[in-house]
Amino acid sequence: MHDDHSEKHPGSTVSYVIGFLLSIVLTIIPLYVVLNHSFSNMILVYVIMIMAVLQFLIQLVFFMHIRESEEPHYNILAIALGIIFVFAIVAGSAWIMTFNSQVQ
């Protein structure tokens, strides 16, 4: 809080706007294909997942300035941990919930 970090804000307005637009587009696509039942259920799930991963990358690059930090150690560690956790949530839930299809 003491030194003036405010001066060296990385990123520019342009990159923020691009990131914002991209993330909106990536939100609209899955919504659109789901609302219109454009594909079979299985494919819909994959479309949503792919869009989510792209969204994740957009956020990291355009808003979190992943490429511009001075201390890459923390970043890499944090992202690795984040990916492990997200993987646990998504893959774990998918695995646990497979019992549902056997029951029905």
Partner: protein, 650 residues
């Protein structure tokens, strides 16, 4: 909505609460006005961004919530004391175990650990404040107004009754049309935002604001434990936020994420809830581990045994915590391979925890032990937690869990680890850091009474419940027939609960008595401490350290003291510099009020009020974004004056 549904008036218990709330509020308002304290309250507390004061406010709120949750507990235990009791009806019992669980975990344990974060971490790492002091105040006020919202449900609209899990379909609109579950969802959401912010704030504080020379592996173990706890907060709380948001969409907007019809899946809620719920128990117990490590080392006059293995096991637990959640629903019926995986991952957690227990024991081994109150709580914890841990391993065996599940065995187990771990841990921290926060020690005699009452009461209350579990008593039942053979155990258990309540009374007495009678601590180091918080005065000045300490290695202050006692020691002349300091701000408080208004409106489906509240939130965010002049400079003169008044010459 009709008024008699809005204000709960039928029940004499609640009517009594209504009246006492009104009387207490009136008394507070009167006292503040009479002594002209409104300005003081606003300037010194409501707008503060000082981590020490925020810590105190967390602490007071947590004690109040412990009282509320404790009264709930006593009511439940009275109802269960004898068969066919008529104290509480079934609906009322449901509401009480729901609010008891929700309050104890989210509005008692969480603020209590946050109190300790705030009180100790910046001082331990030689920093003047947290990384984001303003955000810290926001966190507190979101917690505060979240807690207020939940407690309001008691007198307005009706309490939630679907347990602290809020499982659908019971928590869905079809089965729970009243506002109770909305109170539950929205109050947790509001305080949850604050918790995530606290997690981020302290992670950054620890990574970025350590005093020069303090490497990660030099940090005190409490700081390490906060770091691991923050990692878990950041990873787990968003999952709860999402789960509750989807549930809210079901209730508010007619979605079907978790309904039984239209393709919803209630089990997905259970899955998401425990993805947060299991890590949550580590969030609240890891800081306790940290406190015990500090206390054991200081009161054995030794450095902690196995520092590195302590750090590694903390970090391992914080990652492992994420891979065990299914043990809460082994009985859901997922395949044998799922249950086996999570069974084994749960057992594995016992290993790093066991490592820690042995390290504590080995630290005490051949130490010069001082039986102070923090040390007593630590010893009480070790015994209690070993019992709780052992029953935890019993529960982790999936096939056996089919027997234990939903029985009093589980109730006994989690109170064993929550009270023995978190609550005892925070009491150890409270008595240990009390002189640092308030400038005087707590009276040890009354403290010992409190300790023994809590400890004896604990075993008397919860050991019979293990037996009750084996005898088939299921949790969350509000009464039972007299031919079950459960009565003697329940009588004993209820007596134990009242012994603990007496322990709490002794603690309140201890605090009041000590405030009047105990001597001021003028040394700043009443326990002969090892870490930096003891190097400044008690209480610390608002800027914490006149000169930021330089650190070489672990237990920095202990080393410094040893150096000072050498005959050839020459004190280093250190120069005072002006300090940049954050200004107080009323915005966090106002933002909390706005969130509260929004939450209250949405609870009753008054969309207009919800919108007004959310606009208020946006306005406070906007106002803050365009505030540039948020710091001021403390001149050297003022630092000198403050230090002189505290009896330190620089």
């Amino acid at each position: 909505m009709q008024t008699q549904h809005f204000f709960i008036v039928g029940d004499p218990l609640i009517l009594g609460a209504d009246i006492s709330i009104i009387l207490v509020s009136a008394a507070i308002i009167f006292v503040l006005t009479y002594f002209k304290k409104w300005g003081w309250l606003w300037r010194e507390w409501l707008t503060t961004v000082d981590h020490k004061k925020i810590g105190i406010m967390y602490f007071i709120s947590a004690l109040l919530m412990l009282f509320r949750g404790g009264v709930d507990a006593l009511l439940m235990r009275l109802q269960l004391m004898f068969p066919n009791m008529n104290l509480l009806e079934s609906e009322h019992y449901n509401e009480i175990f729901t609010t008891h669980g929700t309050i104890m975990i989210l509005f008692m344990a969480m603020p209590l650990i946050f109190a300790m974060f705030n009180i100790a971490v910046p001082l331990q790492i030689g920093a003047r404040d947290v990384a984001y002091p303003f955000l810290n105040a926001v966190s507190f006020w979101l917690f505060f107004f979240g807690a207020l919202l939940l407690n309001l449900s008691f007198v307005i609209g009706g309490s939630p009754n679907a347990s602290w899990w809020g499982y659908p379909p019971l928590s869905e609109l079809t089965f729970n049309p009243g506002p109770g579950e909305n109170f539950y969802i929205l109050s947790i959401q509001i305080s949850g935002i604050g918790s995530i912010a606290t997690g981020i704030n302290f992670l950054i504080t620890i990574l970025k604001m350590r005093a020069p020379g303090m490497r990660l592996m030099d940090m005190p173990l409490f700081t390490w434990s906060v770091l691991s706890s923050c990692i878990v907060i950041i990873a787990a709380f968003p999952v709860l936020t999402v789960a509750l948001f989807l549930l809210f969409m079901d209730r508010f907007a007619g979605a079907h994420f978790f309904t039984m019809t239209h393709g919803g899946d209630p089990m997905m809620y259970v899955n998401l809830f425990w993805m947060w719920g299991h890590p949550e128990v580590y969030i609240v117990v890891l800081p306790a581990f940290g406190i015990f490590s500090e206390v054991v080392s200081v009161f054995s006059k030794k450095v902690i045994f196995g520092y590195t293995s302590m750090v590694v096991s903390l970090l391992l637990i914080s990652v492992y915590a994420y891979f065990t959640w299914v043990h809460h629903f082994f009985t859901m019926g997922a395949g044998a391979d799922v249950n086996t995986f999570f069974s084994i991952s749960t057992m594995l957690i016992a290993i790093p925890t066991g490592v820690k227990v042995f390290n504590w024991l080995l630290t005490m081994y051949r130490g010069r032990i001082r039986m102070t109150e923090p040390m007593l709580w630590t010893l009480g914890f070790i015994v209690c937690f070993v019992v709780g841990g052992a029953t935890g391993v019993m529960l982790s065996v999936a096939p056996a869990d089919y027997q234990y599940h939903n029985s009093y065995f589980v109730v006994a187990h989690f109170h064993n680890v929550l009270i023995g771990g978190t609550v005892f841990g925070m009491f150890a921290g409270m008595t240990y850091w009390w002189p640092k926060i308030f400038g005087f020690k707590l009276n040890p005699t009354l403290g010992k009474w409190a300790f023994w009452l809590w400890n004896i009461g604990f075993y008397v209350c919860f050991m019979p419940q293990y037996a009750l579990g084996f005898m088939g008593m299921t949790r969350r039942i509000y009464t039972y027939p007299d031919d079950m053979g459960w009565t003697p155990y329940n009588v004993v258990s209820t007596i134990g609960a009242f012994i603990m309540a007496l322990g709490f009374v002794f603690q309140v007495w201890q605090i009041v008595y000590s405030a009047k009678r105990m001597d001021r601590d003028v040394t700043g180091d009443p326990w002969d401490g090892h870490t930096l918080e003891w190097s400044t005065t008690s209480p610390a000045p608002y800027y914490n350290f006149a000169v930021i300490p330089k650190v070489e290695g672990r237990d920095a202050f202990w080393k410094e003291k040893k150096k000072r006692s050498q005959p050839d020691y020459k004190p280093e002349k250190r120069e005072l510099k002006p300090i940049h300091f954050p200004k107080n701000s009323g915005i966090p408080f106002i933002m909390g009020v706005c969130f509260f208004i929004a939450g209250f409106g949405l609870t009753f489906h008054w969309v207009w009020l919800g919108v007004i509240g959310l606009i208020g939130v946006a306005a406070t965010l906007y106002a803050r974004s365009f505030q540039y002049d948020t710091e001021y400079v403390i001149p050297v003169e003022e630092i000198k004056k403050t230090e002189a008044a505290l009896g330190r010459d620089i």
